[in-house]
Symmetry: C2
Subunit: 342 residues, 2 copies
Amino acid sequence: MVEMTAAAAHRRADEILTNTRQLCEPILREAISSLPEPLRLMGGYHFGWWDSGGVPTLAQPGKSLRPALTICAAAACGGAPLSAVTAAAAVELVHNFTLLHDDVMDADQNRRGRPTVWKLWGVPDAILLGDALHALAVRTLVAGLPDRLATSAVSRLEMTVIEMCRGQHEDCRFGADRRVDVGEYARMAMAKTGSLMGCACALGALCADADAAAVSRMTTFGRELGMAFQFVDDLIGIWGDPSVTGKPANDLSRRSMSLPVVAALDSGTHAASELAAMYHSGSETASMDTERAAALVESAGGRRRALRDAEQRVRAAIAALTDVSTAQDLVALAHLASRRDR
Amino acid sequence: MVEMTAAAAHRRADEILTNTRQLCEPILREAISSLPEPLRLMGGYHFGWWDSGGVPTLAQPGKSLRPALTICAAAACGGAPLSAVTAAAAVELVHNFTLLHDDVMDADQNRRGRPTVWKLWGVPDAILLGDALHALAVRTLVAGLPDRLATSAVSRLEMTVIEMCRGQHEDCRFGADRRVDVGEYARMAMAKTGSLMGCACALGALCADADAAAVSRMTTFGRELGMAFQFVDDLIGIWGDPSVTGKPANDLSRRSMSLPVVAALDSGTHAASELAAMYHSGSETASMDTERAAALVESAGGRRRALRDAEQRVRAAIAALTDVSTAQDLVALAHLASRRDR
């Protein structure tokens, strides 16, 4: 495999994401348009295509990393360029179904710089829209594949949904009152984030009619990349620039458990004790000196640990590709996922 | 078709439901057991197999009408007796996924005489368990059918889920503050209740590899039966015996819109005006003289209308079976659905 420079890999990854959006958006728009009102309106709002009244807007789109993984995994396995586009759209629909439900559970008021669906239309409609996107994902996946591949693809996707439900359950439980160690945190992150990225890659391989060994390698690649992605997300949740990310870097003020915090709390340092006292005092909504908390996480080694683990996971992801001849695009995506600012 | 007496039809329907539960329960238990904890625990609690601590109980089971429709529709289309059992279990899983989410949206605290899942474990876990049952339904359906049938069955099931989401959205919107006419109410009931019963029958026909005309007739049968079922449910919600149904007959105190109420409010009678004043005064939780309200619904013709429409829908359902030679079990289920007390 020819090595790219970091800058070249970054440029290539940006190109891939843009191409992915161009390929998938027509399928996503057709799927959302097939929904009865007001699910169609709310769905298009959630995807950033129009405002809450249905007037077209240019909202910040999602990153499209998951569908890009599906398309690039198919190509890496020798599939035709367009063979995996509907599967990629199905993965994006599942991702968005889980975002809608997670926003309800986490009471998140903003996403991509705009009010969340439950905030605008209420909890029942956000639950229903999530359920409808889940159903659309299955319909889209099945419609785009020959029967033989469709059944195993659908079964794999739904196994992933169940794993994601387990991950989200654990994430909800990891409140500030509970001692979480780095191992438990990683298990949760694999279920919540790694699993869908692994599935995205596996579906790409399936679309290319790859053998079981290749599907398995792609799964490992995606799952490890997903972990790196999550750890970087955790770093952004503390040190990210809201003007770039579109959301406040408020993981500390919300007393969220994330890898830097979990690692810091687990470090046995003085900083850990002070941080624990801040995390365990007051309610979730009570104000916290987040600058001080971030400094404590850093001095307790939490930031370094998250950076190191993210790098390790990227290396593990790329190691899974050794037998794959044409995986340069996947490598570019892995580097992007671990070196991003939003 | 040989006519059965009403009593014979009732006995036969009870037999069918008992057989259905015996056939489907092993598949449902296997599916639920495959879930990671605590989803497995909550799932088995919801199905009535154990208490919230996992200790086996003999809770009142669900009616199993939907899976019975799938099995009997397959038989009516000449399918082997066991060909449709996994599809029947998948339908029951979808039904229960929607119950879990509906209970959250409607803030219902009890189901089948026990606290609902959200009441015991909180809203996030109830949403996640519903999502997981949705995924399990798809996995179960796909696993039990040859690829060719599986894809069209899955696609039909998910189209139905989307229709049910629309129906539930409308049901949530039909608060006491809104004028709903009988036509709007019927449209909502078809989406919320008729659609899954129609799908249950269609999947049975698909499992028997029936032709498109037979699938279509079975869909009509199930949808019309579903309407009759809903209208009888509405009657039970006002005049049902809580000791038989396992839930309070509180549709009036909750100011729910149901066919008897909608028809009564729409009758232009004095009773309608008095009922409207009661419905529109105070909050949803303010107490109401439900005996007086029930008498008003009755004198405004709401009860008669619901009984008449239920009978009409049963006739329409049975009329869709004219070309089906061996549909006596479906006829028995249709009569049971329209003449039941729980």
